[in-house]
């Protein structure tokens, strides 16, 4: 791993190792980390050199990261190479991650659950199972709706909400007291 300060190197290696927990592989984690701290967009060759990976591996890794929308590519006029970079804004990054994770880790299961719950149970054991699936389905739908709503918030509302933290419960109390949100009202 060439030309990299030890602390940056440590960061890149860490992302590589965490990659497997996060559902990407080591290479992909490293490429992301490198691009994330880079001052300028980098081309595939530069990435290959700095990380000591094969060119083809870098190509595949970049493709993967693009499929997550975590890196973007751009052309620099007068240069044939593709240059890659990560979005500046960490909140944007987090929202993209939320969206992609939901798509990959939640939606498929939600689909299956809804499908399964269409059938009517034929015996007590099945009925119990269906109840369990219904519980899971309900919760996942709520989480899914929540994340939808999050994704629609403006940047400033998002920041506000994040900074709120432990004050959310107090907001909830407030709602009771002030009776602002009608109990059964549909979303507009």
């Amino acid at each position: 791993m060439k030309d990299l300060d030890p602390s940056i190197q440590a960061f890149i290696l860490h992302f590589g190792e965490m990659g497997s927990r996060w559902g990407i592989n080591r290479t992909v984690g490293q490429i992301y980390a490198l691009l994330y701290v880079a001052e300028e967009p980098l081309n595939a060759e530069q990435i290959t050199d700095r990380l000591g990976l094969s060119r083809s591996n870098v190509s595949m890794g970049l493709k993967e990261l693009q499929s997550w929308r975590l890196v973007q590519s751009q052309h620099i006029p007068g240069d044939r190479k593709d240059y890659f970079s990560t979005p500046e804004d960490v909140l944007d990054i987090a929202m993209t991650l939320l969206q992609e994770k939901r798509k990959r880790e939640l939606d498929p299961t939600l689909t299956l659950l809804r499908q399964t719950l269409m059938e009517s149970p034929k015996n007590p054991e099945l009925e119990h199972a269906q109840n369990r699936l219904q519980d899971m389905c309900n919760l996942m739908e709520q989480v899914s709706d929540w994340s939808d709503d999050l994704l629609k918030l403006s940047r400033s509302d998002l920041q506000l909400l994040l900074r709120f933290g432990n004050k959310v419960p107090r907001l909830l109390e407030m709602k009771d007291k002030l009776n602002i949100l009608p109990k059964k009202q549909k979303p507009k």
Copy 2:
């Protein structure tokens, strides 16, 4: 896979396949799914039989699930075997998951980032990198604090919050208008 209704079988297989995306393996996913829909706690042998896995694999899978606190074991008087089950309440399950995911997927990185940010940058390139890491660190800390607060909520507040969904932004507006939250807690 014996004695299982096709729809339940589909559910178990699906959990097995999703397992790899969720950071557990197929076997662990299947065991969890089976226990989740079971009417009664099951012992390791029953799991082995119904899923067609090796006894040792089931043992390891159960250990893994216990390390996630997603299944609990209990003794049934007069029976030597251990019986395993999942918590009843899906909200409990979700909160456990949140806690464990944070511990495994967020905390280690937060630790590394904080460590790295102790050092002072020696050149412009490093300074840029440190700024990037600082941004990431701040966001992750906010997410971490948020989840802490979530975990402290009562069941009923949690349910309320979940059902809220898209009304959260309205709450945020409200906060401005009503000036309820003390300003002393200015986030740094």
